[in-house]
């Protein structure tokens, strides 16, 4: 963006990106805050990071409340760190719709992992806007990816749409189930079967895990044959039993994506998604700035409010004219003119 402060802003962004790429966690954490606030300075840094994005294996973790997603993510992070790869965890928990506040307690389980140089853990509150949140989390994933974290684990609030959103964002969608939660099988029927790349049946230290795993396998067997059949891994995040097996299943899925060309396909899909998003925002911003600059915005709003114009036709008309380079004004306010 050309503006008076463009040059200092560019230099500040360069310094910031450099510190982030050098592994400074403070720089990464500050960037994520700006991303959450949708501060334009975040884009200035992200544009410099773009060439570095695309290396990390992003695993989205979803499932019913209380299934053990957070406990399992910590266990997975521990196992990954023991084997070598660096890990970033992005944990999303709901904000109170009433006060906007949130109590974010997922770090409690980290213990000594908290100070591990190869681990970065960030808690997010959903801030009441799931759509906008997925955008912030997607950019945060890009930030930790560029910073060099090799595995990124994203936990989302397991409610409705978020499973689908997490599967947009992740290479591998891990669905966590637990015995005796009652709605597991229902949830599975309600669409988890489609989004899951790997199933974890957690709490295998309690009775019932084997049965839950059996039901999922049976349901998977009923569906059409697919190039990738989601493995169903029984484990206990609490005792750690089976966690290594789950990690291997996640790695097998990544290898499958690469070998089958789906990894590249995902990159293109996500590029299209991001470009569409940003283009839409940029067009809207430019259109509003232009209408306001020429002083016709208020007049159009009035015309719609007085029922002289309908917003459906008007928005189509304005978009057409803006793209052609001219906007005009409502009748009675002077004749149409180009800019």
């Amino acid at each position: 963006m050309a503006s008076a402060g463009a040059e200092p802003a560019r230099r500040a962004a360069e310094g910031w990106a450099e510190r982030l790429l050098a592994g400074e966690k403070r720089a990464l954490a500050r960037l994520i805050t700006l991303i959450e606030e949708r501060d334009p300075a975040a884009s200035d840094v992200l544009r410099l990071l773009h060439p570095r994005v695309g290396q990390a294996h992003v695993v989205g973790v979803t499932g019913a409340a209380g299934a053990g997603k957070s406990t399992l993510i910590t266990a997975l992070a521990r196992e990954l760190r023991a084997r070598g790869p660096s890990v970033a965890v992005l944990a999303v928990d709901p904000s109170s719709p009433l006060t906007g506040g949130a109590l974010l307690g997922d770090r409690i389980r980290l213990g000594d992992l908290s100070t591990d140089p190869g681990l970065f853990f960030r808690s997010f509150a959903s801030r009441g806007h799931l759509g906008g949140l997925s955008r912030a989390v997607a950019d945060a994933v890009r930030a930790v990816d560029a910073a060099g974290y090799q595995a990124v684990l994203v936990e989302t609030v397991g409610a409705g749409q978020s499973e689908v959103e997490v599967s947009e964002l992740a290479h591998t969608t891990l669905v966590v189930l637990a015995p005796n939660l009652g709605d597991d099988v229902q949830a599975a029927k309600a669409g988890l079967l489609e989004v899951a790349d790997v199933f974890a049946v957690n709490k295998a230290d309690l009775p019932g895990a084997r049965e839950t795993a059996g039901e999922i396998r049976a349901m998977l067997g009923l569906g059409p044959a697919r190039p990738w059949t989601p493995p169903v891994v029984e484990l206990s995040a609490r005792t750690g039993e089976g966690v290594a097996g789950l990690l291997e299943a996640l790695e097998r899925h990544r290898d499958f994506l690469v070998a089958s060309g789906r990894w590249g396909e995902k990159l293109r899909r996500s590029a299209a998604h991001q470009l569409r998003d940003l283009l839409g925002e940029e067009l809207l911003r430019a259109a509003l700035a232009r209408l306001e600059a020429e002083g016709s915005w208020q007049a159009w709003v009035e015309a719609v409010a007085r029922r002289e114009r309908d917003p459906y036709t008007l928005s189509e008309e304005l978009a057409r004219r803006l793209l052609a380079g001219a906007t005009g004004r409502p009748r009675g306010e002077g004749e149409a003119r180009g800019l």
């Binding site: 403070r26 954490a29 808690s123």
Partner: protein, 137 residues
């Protein structure tokens, strides 16, 4: 753009329970803040790591054990070393007045002794920290 304040509530040292810290954490949440709660037995290094990675606006330490004169300076020193010396630190717990004065000289923004009400703490955070964040933009 206004955003919720982010506050880390941490318990360094060997305290046996965290009832008081949890009450404060919930009160701050109910006041519309995002509270990162890390549980009992945190080392100063773990608290610094959490403050940096969560990019909080304030670190609140709750200490009952009497070890505040060693633990608090270590947290402050650690934050400075991590390039996060600008994050303010407040301390609550069983802190004698003369220690409170020394902690403030060592860089603690405020000390809340045994008589402090939850409301007073929430008000302080809103007023002192809310103002800072808004000033930053």
């Amino acid at each position: 753009m206004t955003r919720p304040l982010r506050v880390l509530v941490a318990k360094p040292g060997l305290d046996r329970h965290d009832r008081g810290a949890k009450v404060i954490a919930r009160a701050l949440r109910d006041a519309g803040m995002e509270v990162i709660y890390t549980g009992l037995h945190q080392t100063p290094a773990e608290i610094v790591a959490a403050a940096v990675q969560e990019d909080v606006d304030l670190v609140g330490l709750s200490i009952l054990s009497g070890a505040h004169m060693t633990l608090v300076p270590r947290v402050i020193q650690g934050l400075r070393e991590a390039g996060a010396g600008d994050i303010p630190v407040v301390v609550g717990g069983i802190i004698p007045p003369e220690d409170a004065e020394e902690l403030k000289k060592a860089g603690v923004l405020e000390v809340f002794g045994p008589g402090s009400s939850t409301e007073a703490i929430v008000d302080f955070v809103r007023r002192e920290i809310g103002g800072r964040v808004n000033a930053l933009g």
